[in-house]
Symmetry: C2
């Protein structure tokens, strides 16, 4: 079963979040799923492809958490 | 922050999964996120909109789990 999920985040921090997560993109460890992260203006696009629902859920959860942390750090940096 | 996630599942059970989850669609309980589930031939489209990443992750996880269970039940029914 082929699964594809695309998430769109509307945020001014799209580019800084993307840059901070570049090392994670380049060190992907599983062959059951793959991700693509792309900043476009004030939007950040996360695309996850997976062979099954279990790997889709775990990969999606990992990346939503990474993006959440990167957004929180970016917000802190803006306020300091 | 506006977040939208669209997941596409390639499965012959798209319509039966959709029908089995209709009651869940009609009884959505949170106002921080909303979902749409749509069968089209052998594809099932899940769209989740949320106001923040925390509600996106929990709603997405709930629905990916519901779909996973519905697919497993459908596969069992096919083999019986």
């Amino acid at each position: 079963m082929k699964l594809v999920t695309e998430s769109v985040f509307e945020t001014d921090a799209a580019l800084s979040v993307y840059r901070s997560l570049l090392p994670e993109i380049e060190s992907q460890v599983t062959d059951r799923s793959s991700i693509d992260l792309r900043p476009e203006g004030s939007y950040l696009y996360l695309t996850v492809e997976a062979d099954d629902l279990v790997s889709m859920r775990s990969t999606l959860n990992t990346w939503l958490r990474l993006i959440q942390v990167a957004l929180e750090v970016s917000a802190l940096a803006d306020n300091s």
